[in-house]
C-alpha cells in the first residue's frame, strides 16, 4: 500500500518544531516563492528546501508518489504555458531573442525559456516544503496549529480528521476494489472505453461512500459524547510552547520574505531581467 498523504514519524529537528511553526513557515515560504520572480532568490530556495529535506530524514522513496504527482503537474503546467502564450516571456522582458521556430506561432525565445525556468524554480522551491510539512506534522498537531493561527477549532479538527482518515480510506478503497474485481469489474485496463471505466469506478465509489458515512457517524457521535463543540474555545493536550528553534525558523522565513519583497525594489518590479 502506497502512502500518498501521510505523516511519517522520525526523530529530526524538523519533526521537533511545533506544528504552528511549521504551518507559519510554510505559508511565509510559499508566499515568498509565489510572489517573487527573482531568479537568484528562486534558485537559492530549492537548494535550501532540499537541504531541509535531508535534515528531516524523510527518504525520497517514502514520498515519491507525491513528488511524481507534482512533477507531472509541473510539466503539464509548463507545456500549457507554452501552448497558450509562447510570447509571454518577450512581453515581460521587453526583448525578443529568437532561438528557433517549431511551427506557426510557436517560436522558442530565450525570454520565454527564462520565464518558464522561473516557473519551474517556483515549483522546486515550494513542492519539497509542502511535502515536508505534510510528512513531518502529525495530524492532531496540525489541528492545534491551525487553531493557533486563528482558524476555528471545529474546522481545524475536521481538516485534521480528514487527513488522518486518508490512509484508512485508501486501504478500504483497495479492499473494495479487489472484491469488485473478483466479480469481474475491471479497473486499470486500456481495453475498455473511458466511459465504461468511469462507470466501473463509480460502482466502487458507491460502497466506499456508504462505509465512509458510517465511519463519520461513529466518530461524530464519539466526539460529541465527549463534549466536542460545547465551548467556543478549547485547550490542547499536546500543545507545546515555542522553543528557540521555533523562533529561529520563523525569523528565517520572515527574512526570506523580506528579501523577496526587497528584491522588487532593487529590480524595479516583480521580474529580475537579465536581458537588458
Amino acid at each position: 500500500m502506497i502512502n500518498i498523504f501521510n505523516y511519517i514519524e522520525k526523530k529530526s529537528p524538523v519533526h521537533k518544531l511545533t506544528g504552528a511553526t511549521k504551518l507559519l513557515c510554510l505559508l511565509i515560504w510559499s508566499l515568498a516563492a509565489m510572489t517573487s520572480f527573482d531568479t537568484r532568490l528562486l534558485a537559492v530556495m530549492p537548494v535550501l528546501a532540499f537541504i531541509l529535506f535531508f535534515v528531516s530524514k524523510i527518504k525520497f522513496s517514502e514520498v515519491k508518489v507525491m513528488f511524481y504527482f507534482t512533477f507531472i503537474f509541473m510539466v503539464l503546467n509548463n507545456l500549457l504555458i507554452f501552448l497558450f502564450s509562447p510570447e509571454h516571456g518577450t512581453t515581460i522582458y521587453g526583448t525578443r531573442t529568437v532561438l528557433f521556430t517549431i511551427f506557426w506561432r510557436y517560436v522558442v525565445t530565450a525570454e520565454q525559456l527564462f520565464y518558464q525556468l522561473n516557473v519551474i524554480l517556483k515549483y522546486l522551491a515550494t513542492i519539497p516544503i509542502v511535502i515536508l510539512f505534510v510528512s513531518t506534522t502529525d495530524p492532531s498537531e496540525f489541528a492545534s496549529s491551525l487553531n493557533r493561527i486563528g482558524v476555528s477549532y471545529k474546522i481545524a479538527y475536521s481538516v485534521s480528521l480528514a487527513l488522518r482518515y486518508i490512509p484508512d480510506i485508501q486501504r478500504e478503497y483497495h479492499d473494495i476494489s479487489i472484491a469488485q474485481q473478483a466479480r469481474g469489474l475491471e479497473m486499470a485496463s486500456g481495453k475498455q472505453k473511458l466511459i465504461k471505466r468511469l462507470k466501473n469506478a463509480a460502482d466502487m465509489l458507491f460502497p466506499l461512500i456508504v462505509s465512509s458515512m458510517d465511519r463519520i457517524e461513529i466518530i461524530a457521535s464519539a466526539m460529541e459524547l465527549r463534549g466536542f463543540g460545547k465551548n467556543k474555545k478549547r485547550t490542547w493536550y499536546s500543545a507545546r510552547p515555542f522553543a528557540v528553534s521555533d523562533y529561529l525558523s520563523i525569523a528565517f522565513c520572515i527574512i526570506l520574505a523580506a528579501v523577496s519583497v526587497g528584491l522588487r525594489f532593487v529590480n524595479g518590479g516583480r521580474y529580475f531581467n537579465p536581458f537588458i
Binding site: S140, D175, Q180, S211, I218, R226
Partner: protein, 575 residues
C-alpha cells in the same frame, strides 16, 4: 442516602420514544429505576430498543437522532428535557462498541484528554488527570505516548474507558462492549468492567446480547427487552431459571442448554448465573451423566477429495516487512464447511486473500482441483472461489437488489440476458430474496444485506465460498438465520470456509478448524479438540467453553467427547 428516592441515578417513568423517521414508536411504557452503584445488564435481540434506550441516557437522542418522547426520564435528579448531550456527558460516560472508530487522539494520552480539552482544562492539570486515570485502568506510564495502532484490542478498550472516566462520570454506559472482540479479549473486558465497578462504585449499565459472556462476572440485575418493551427485570439467576431467553431470541449459556438437554430443571437456588457458582445436586449430575452416555455420537465425515491445496506458503506485504504468513500447509476438502480461526493480525484474512489472488505469496504453491493457481488472475479464480467481505456495505455497489445480484454475471458477459435472468431468479430463490427482488438495497436489514452479498457471489456459481466474519455483530436469531442459510448452501455441495473468532459458530457449524497464531498455522483439528486444547486456546485468544467445566463437574473426563455429543444433540433439536 436516607431518602430512597435520591438513590436512583436513572429513572424512566412511563417513557416512550418514536423516531421522526418511523411510523411506530421504538420504546413503549418503559419503567425502570437504576440505583447508585448498581451494575445492570440490558439485554435483548437487535431491534428491541436497547440501543435507543442507551441513546436516551447519553443524550445522542435528541442531539443526533430526532424524535418524540413521552413520559418522563430523570437523570441525575433532573428531567431529561432540561439536559443536553454536553451536560449529560458529565454524568453518563459512554464507551462505544467500536474502539477503533472512537479513537480521536493520536496518542493514548491525547485521546484520554479529549473531554478535558473540550472543557478548556489547563494543560498542566490535564496531564495530571490523564496520568491518574490511565494508571487506574492500566494503560499508564509509557503507554501514554503510544499510538492507537500499537495497542491490542483489550488495551484500546481500556483507553476508551479511561477517556470517559477522566470526567468523573456517575454512570458508565457500555454499548455492546463485546462486539468485534475475540473471546479472550471479551473475557478480560468483562473483568475490567467488574474491577472498575468494584473499585470506584460507579453505576454500570451494559447493553449487550451476549449473555453468557457478560455473566462471566456478577451483575445485579438483567433487564430483558423485546419489541420496545421491558419483558423482565430480575436477577440473572431468576432469568436463567425461566424460559424467557429462548422465547425472546437470546442465546442461553451453553451449560444451561446442556443441563436442559439432560433433563435438569434450572432453579434459582442452583445459582445458575455462572458456571463457577453453579451447584448441582448428585441427582442432577447423574442425569447429565446418563444423558452423556445415551447421546448420539459420530465422527464428522469428511470427503477424501481435496479441492484446494496450499504448500509451504510464505508471505509478506513489502520486501522489508516481517513475514505475515510462514510455511502454511493447508488442505480443503470438497464439500466441507470449516473455519479459519485466530486473533486479529494472526494472518487468517491475509491467507484468504492469497487464495483469491488478491495478494501473491512470496513462495510456495497453491492448487485448485489439481491445477496450479499461479498465473491465474483474480477474475479467473473468482469463477471458482467467491469471497464475501465482512461488511456488506463494502460490497454492494448497486441501489437495487436485482441489479446487485446480476452485476457479476453481466460483467462476465458470456451469458445471454435471458440466461442471466434465469440464473439471478434461481439464486434469489435459494437465498430467500425472491420476494424482495425489486426492492432497493437500502430498505434491507444488515442480515438481509449480507444475504444479498452472498447471493451476488453465489450467482457466479463458485465451488468454494470464503466468508469473512459472516455473523459479526448479529444477535442470536440473525446469527442462526445466516448460518442455517450457509449450512443449506453447504448441503448443496458448495465448500464453505469461514474466517471467524466466534467460538459458537465454529463449534455449531464447522466440521474442522485451522488455527492461525503469530503468522503460523498451529493446529488443524476438529472444533471440540481445538476448544479443549489449553495451549491452542491461549495462543488463538479463544477461551474454553463452559461445557468443559460442566463435564468436569459431573465427573466426565473426556470433555471433548461431551462437547461433541452436545453439538450433535443441539443440531438435532434445532432442526
Amino acid at each position: 442516602m436516607n431518602n430512597p428516592e435520591e438513590e436512583n441515578v436513572i429513572e424512566f417513568r412511563n417513557f416512550g420514544f418514536k423516531y421522526t423517521a418511523q411510523s411506530e414508536p421504538t420504546l413503549y411504557d418503559i419503567n425502570l429505576k437504576i440505583r447508585r452503584g448498581e451494575k445492570v445488564l440490558i439485554c435483548g435481540p437487535s431491534g428491541c430498543g436497547k440501543s435507543t434506550l442507551a441513546h436516551c441516557l447519553n443524550g445522542l437522542i435528541p442531539a443526533s437522532y430526532s424524535g418524540e418522547a413521552t413520559g418522563e426520564l430523570i437523570l441525575d435528579g433532573k428531567s431529561f428535557k432540561d439536559q443536553n448531550i454536553f451536560s449529560l456527558s458529565k454524568f453518563v460516560g459512554t464507551v462505544l462498541q467500536d474502539s477503533d472508530g472512537q479513537f480521536i487522539g493520536l496518542t493514548v494520552g491525547e485521546d484520554i484528554a479529549f473531554a478535558l480539552e473540550n472543557d478548556r482544562t489547563a494543560q498542566a492539570e490535564m496531564k495530571e488527570r490523564v496520568k491518574a486515570v490511565a494508571e487506574k485502568v492500566g494503560v499508564g506510564g509509557p503507554f501514554l505516548s503510544h499510538a492507537p495502532h500499537e495497542l491490542s484490542g483489550g488495551q484500546k478498550q481500556r483507553v476508551a474507558l479511561a477517556g470517559v472516566m477522566v470526567d468523573d462520570v456517575k454512570v458508565l454506559l457500555f454499548d455492546e462492549p463485546l462486539a468485534n472482540l475475540d473471546p479472550a479479549t471479551g473475557k478480560t473486558t468483562i473483568e475490567l468492567i467488574d474491577e472498575i465497578h468494584k473499585n470506584t462504585g460507579t453505576t454500570v449499565v451494559i447493553i449487550e446480547h451476549r449473555l453468557e459472556d457478560v455473566l462471566h462476572r456478577d451483575v445485579d440485575r438483567v433487564i430483558l427487552m423485546s419489541e420496545g418493551r421491558i419483558i423482565s427485570d430480575s436477577s440473572p439467576a431468576a432469568l436463567l431459571s425461566s424460559d424467557l431467553l429462548i422465547k425472546y431470541g437470546i442465546r442461553e449459556p451453553l451449560y444451561i442448554t446442556a443441563l436442559k438437554y439432560a433433563g435438569v430443571k434450572i432453579t434459582e437456588e442452583m445459582k445458575p448465573q455462572r458456571i463457577d457458582t453453579l451447584k448441582l445436586s448428585e441427582e442432577d449430575k447423574k442425569k447429565v451423566l446418563s444423558w452423556f452416555e445415551k447421546a448420539p455420537y459420530e465422527k464428522e465425515k469428511v470427503s477424501e477429495q481435496i479441492i484446494l491445496k496450499a504448500r509451504n506458503i510464505d508471505f509478506k506485504y513489502s520486501d522489508e516487512g516481517r513475514l505475515v504468513l510462514q510455511g502454511i500447509n493447508f488442505e480443503l476438502h470438497k464439500g466441507e464447511m470449516m473455519a479459519i480461526v485466530g486473533k486479529n493480525g494472526a494472518g487468517k484474512s491475509t491467507f484468504s486473500k492469497l487464495i483469491c489472488g488478491f495478494e501473491k505469496p512470496c513462495s510456495g504453491s497453491m492448487e485448485l482441483n489439481g491445477t496450479d493457481l499461479e498465473g491465474m488472475s483474480i477474475k479467473e479464480r473468482a469463477d471458482h472461489i467467491g469471497y464475501v467481505m465482512q461488511n456488506p456495505n463494502q460490497m454492494i455497489s448497486k441501489p437495487m437488489i436485482r441489479e446487485e445480484v446480476s452485476l457479476g454475471l453481466i460483467l462476465k458477459s458470456s451469458l445471454t440476458p435471458q440466461q442471466i435472468d434465469e440464473r439471478v431468479d434461481e439464486t434469489l430463490k435459494i437465498c430467500g430474496l425472491y420476494p424482495f427482488r425489486n426492492w432497493p438495497v437500502s430498505a434491507l436489514s444488515f442480515g438481509q444485506k449480507k444475504r444479498v452479498t452472498i447471493a451476488s457471489i453465489l450467482s457466479m456459481n463458485p465451488e468454494i465460498i470464503i466468508l469473512d466474519e459472516p455473523t459479526a455483530g448479529q444477535d442470536f436469531r440473525h446469527y442462526t438465520e445466516i448460518m442455517d442459510f450457509l449450512s443449506d448452501l453447504n448441503k448443496r455441495g458448495i465448500t464453505i470456509v469461514l474466517i471467524t473468532h466466534d467460538m459458537h459458530l465454529m463449534l455449531e457449524y464447522c466440521s474442522r478448524a485451522v488455527i492461525f497464531a503469530d503468522s503460523q498455522m498451529i493446529a488443524d483439528k476438529s472444533c471440540e479438540e481445538v476448544l479443549t486444547d489449553s495451549d491452542v486456546v491461549e495462543k488463538a485468544c479463544l477461551k474454553k467453553t463452559s461445557l468443559s467445566a460442566l463435564s468436569l463437574m459431573c465427573g466426565i473426563k473426556d470433555d471433548k467427547d461431551f462437547i461433541r455429543r452436545f453439538i450433535l444433540t443441539d443440531r438435532e433439536v434445532r432442526k
